[in-house]
């Protein structure tokens, strides 16, 4: 029996070790570095909250472009992609098995593509001359008279980023929701019918959604994380960091700009901490929304 007490930790050891070294320690280091002035060559010097103060008061680009862009992008792609994946999952559950599987595979397939490589496809589609597919189509339909330079035009960058992000948003969360809808206890629907449920929508609101709250929460968390990590597409689409006039600049791009282009690692670390805090905050809110009580 004595041996049994130690065994669990032995089984956990490899995971915990790697988890600590490559996830926990980097987060702790990011928090520490965010209080320093670190240029990657000299040893970091402690400067207290200066990075955060600068972020709030000095960084005009952050306040004027990056933060509003990130909020706009997150508000549309996060809930948008989430609602869409629920609607698609629920609609799919109303079909028979074979067509359901085929369509589910199609919806999930963009999530399997490596993000940046796929962006190349969108780059060709939205190419700025007459040979661009979207331009060509819009001109043929008579909507445009001359080609638009979509990927450099500050009016369109964000819209295209949102389309691409939504296209790739049916990921693990979507699969979880689909499995969730399909596994709702059949007898609940029969009981519901006896209690006077008349149509699919009543069924959806009174039985399906309440029965799959845990999957809905998992989907929500995955959607939040997905939204904030697809941030690189703006840079990939426009081919430059910063994006033209900062029109598609998100926090992730701002971190790369400061960390790997200007080598102001301390400031970049402060931005990273802010990003992690934002993600935790949103996840916390969704947890409150979906909790059982």
């Amino acid at each position: 029996m004595q041996k049994d007490k130690k065994n669990p930790y032995l089984f956990l050891l490899p995971y915990i070790l790697l988890f600590t070294v490559f996830i926990i320690i980097p987060i702790v280091m990011a928090i520490y570095l965010s209080f320093t002035n670190f240029n990657t060559i000299e040893t970091p010097g402690f400067i207290g909250f200066l990075n955060y103060l600068n972020l709030l008061t000095q960084d005009e680009i952050f306040m004027q472009y990056v933060l509003p862009n990130t909020v706009l992008f997150a508000v549309i792609v996060g809930p948008g992609g989430y609602i869409l994946s629920f609607l698609l999952a629920w609609s799919l559950s109303q079909l028979t098995r074979v067509p359901r599987m085929i369509l589910a595979l199609i919806f999930y397939s963009p999530s399997m593509t490596s993000g940046v490589a796929m962006v190349v496809v969108w780059k060709v589609l939205f190419s700025g001359n007459q040979a661009g597919y979207v331009n060509s189509l819009l001109m043929k339909l008579g909507i445009l008279t001359e080609p638009l330079i979509f990927l450099q035009d500050t009016r369109f960058i964000m819209i295209i980023m949102i389309i691409v992000a939504l296209w790739g948003s049916m990921g693990v969360g979507f699969l979880a929701m689909l499995a969730g809808v399909l596994n709702v206890d059949e007898t609940l629907y029969e009981a519901g019918a006896i209690d006077g449920i008349r149509n699919r929508f009543q069924e959806l609101f009174y039985i399906t959604i309440p029965s799959m709250k845990p999957q809905m929460l998992f989907g929500a968390v995955m959607a939040i994380v997905g939204t904030f990590s697809t941030g690189v597409i703006g840079v990939a689409l426009t081919g430059s960091n910063p994006t033209p006039s900062y029109a598609g600049q998100l926090i992730v791009n701002h971190i790369e700009d400061y960390g790997f282009i200007r080598f102001e690692m301390g400031y970049a670390a402060a931005l990273s901490v802010v990003l992690l805090l934002i993600i935790f905050l949103f996840s916390y809110i969704s947890k409150k929304l979906f909790s059982e009580s």
Binding site: P8, S91, T113, S136, A179, G192, K213, S283
Partner: protein
């Protein structure tokens, strides 16, 4: 059955399903558009890549773009086979070790009572929200501190602990009846035998699911090659395909870029099709409370 108003998971086609097809099919077409596009683009001969007005579908398919891609790789000093080999080593190692360590951890987190168990699983759940890109810099520093940069370890070790994988496996083990394990203990099995002989065979769907999720991350990973390696012959296929795809703006390059995207996409697709029923089976236990 007759009592149900409409219900999910119908067995037969029925006219009331038509409205769902009307909604789903246009959507599916939109989702497939870019993928159909790269397939066509990859097989377009030069004159069709240049064609004006641009054509979506390929007319006279050819393997020229594939040939050009292989030639380019060979003239750049490092043969394509080196990138492929690196990718294979890294991917196989990460997928294998990752599901081993996650299933070991998942087993004890689900079936054993010990101090700190709840806290560990809670921390892992918080880490589901972890976005690697937010701590790229400290990760880079950790790797150079460990002195593993520019080795296979830099490719493999950082990706082994995957919170989503552990989470899905642990939730799946939760539904294995305790009685099964108690019976094994009565028969004199130790923890390792229980893990190896009972748990592992029963959680194959969860392992397959974790494997495909890990595979997608590793196979498509470009960041490791960019940041944690300096020598060209330690880099992976994803990195090579990505540089090729990003740096080629000329029309001729588009065909090769499409081939590159296609080569990266196909293994994911095939693996997912093979494992999809395991994935759906596992996902039904993916609830987060």
């Amino acid at each position: 059955m007759a009592l149900k108003v409409s219900g999910n998971n119908p067995k037969k086609f029925n006219r009331s399903q038509i409205k769902f097809y009307v909604f789903l099919i246009p959507f599916a077409l939109f989702m497939m558009l870019p993928i159909i596009f790269i397939i066509n683009h990859a097989f377009k001969p030069l004159d069709e890549l240049f064609a004006f007005p641009p054509r979506f579908f390929v007319n006279a398919p050819t393997f020229d773009n594939f040939r050009n891609l292989f030639d380019l790789a060979n003239t750049s000093g490092i043969p394509l086979s080196r990138y492929v080999l690196n990718s294979l080593i890294v991917t196989v190692a990460v997928v294998f070790f990752s599901i081993i360590i996650s299933s070991m951890a998942g087993f004890v987190l689900s079936k054993k009572q010990f101090r700190g168990k709840k806290a560990i699983f809670e921390i892992n759940n918080v880490a589901l929200m972890f976005v690697p890109i937010a701590v790229t810099i400290p990760r880079f520093l950790t790797i150079s501190f460990l002195g593993i940069d520019d080795t296979f370890f830099a490719h493999i070790l950082p990706l082994l602990a995957m919170p989503v994988g552990l989470f899905l496996i642990k939730q799946f083990i939760d539904q294995i009846p305790d009685a099964l394990i108690e019976a094994a203990i009565v028969d004199g099995a130790n923890d390792f035998q229980i893990y190896w002989k009972i748990i592992l065979p029963l959680i194959k769907p969860a392992l397959a699911t974790a494997a495909i999720l890990v595979f997608q991350v590793v196979w498509n990973d470009v960041e490791t090659s960019t940041l944690f390696t300096t020598s060209e012959n330690m880099r992976t296929l994803a990195f090579f395909m990505n540089t090729l795809a990003v740096n080629t703006n000329v029309v001729v390059g588009q065909g090769m870029a499409a081939v590159a995207s296609l080569i990266m996409f196909i293994p994911n697709l095939i693996l997912f099709i093979i494992l999809q029923s395991s994935v759906m089976n596992t996902m039904s236990h993916s609830g987060l409370k």
